[in-house]
Amino acid sequence: MKRRKFFALASAFTLSTMMGAGSAIAVTEGEARSLVENVANQVLTLIRQPGAPQSKTGQLKSIMAQSVDIRQVAGAALGRYARGTNPGQRDRYVAAYEDYVARIYANRFSEYSGETIAINGAQDFGRKGVVVDSSVNANGQVINIKWQVRDNRSGQPKINDIIVEGLSMISSQQSEFTQMIQDLGGDVDAFITRLQTLGT
């Protein structure tokens, strides 16, 4: 009886230590939520600013640089072609990718002006991070946006993916980019050149 009690206590202790250690290395729902709130507010402030879309791409890039693991996101968007690239190609591609994303979103934002965002909740997906659920009210239309937040390799929470009305940015880009590279006969350099003008 005593021994059984001891084992029960010991395993409960081990379990709680393990769980404690687990939550120490992974992003919590609260951290993910405040990261998203912070980024969303910066973006909404940027949208409200007067000025042409092109004048906002720089600020959008600096918001992304601090909150999104843009290099790994760019790599994921390259899909099966990511592995075969050399360091020089990677650097040029990441730079072109950052400009492309900032350009696309700045253009899209120009259609909006008085948006508000409400955070609805957060769900923990373990290894795949925390998904924060939000609703953006844009011109009377409610748009659902989900944000996948995960610790980067140095343990800092970063946005990985943005899912707008069920459309994952990474999935959409991966499908578009890999098809483009395939049509270019696998020529990643030609693809980077094309990416620099895509959406201009």
């Binding site: 997906f125 795949k128 980067n152 069920g166 999935s171 578009e176």
Partner: protein, 254 residues
Amino acid sequence: MLGKIFGRRANFSFAAVLTGIMVLSGCSNSLVPDDGDDPVESVNRAVHSFNKGVDTVALRPLSKGYEKVVPETFRHVINNEVRFVQLPVTFANSVLQGNVERAGDTAARFFVNSTLGGLGALDPATDLGIPEHSEDFGQTLAVWGVASGPYLELPLLGPTTVRDGLSRVADTALNPLTYIGQGTTTTIAKAAETPVRIIDTRQRFGNLIDEVLYESDDSYTIVRNTFLQRRRNAILNGNIDADSLPDIYNDEAF
């Protein structure tokens, strides 16, 4: 009861369609295929070129004309009606999926908008905070575990899968509005429903559709990927499944 509403013929066609879907969608075993699962891609691409041509010469100019000629208030009413006539389909499919909450929301929405909203012309249900859902028989079959079958792009009807394409017949059979009403006005309204819905959608998503069709390098791939992602989202009622979340740290550091 159901037999009385739908009639014998509807019951027969419903069973036939269901069997057809079960057999044909057995080819692929996932609820939503991924991009690579497109065995009839060359045929689909030919149909896509045709559809894009139809958009260039007809849909795009028509939707631009619609935007120019019809005042915004009236277009708003049209959009309310387009969504209103789909409510019975959403209700029936929510019931078939055993989703009591969505069935209740949809019944409440139908009641409020058919009375206070003047047969769907206005949308007071949204102002009252009654959630809006969209369920169809393709989603119901997915919930029942029926695989999607290959991806298809159909002439004029656009992107779908074997399961979801055939399910459209079932949705027409499931909608009581199919069976009610006689006379010229009703006949015209029924015949106009699909074209009106298409122009309404083309106009509301105008910029986005233009961007995909005319400013991308390969619109076929983007349409397919967008459709499949939206379909998964509809089947999951907006929830996320862990498998479809990207894993950007899976590979070596980029």
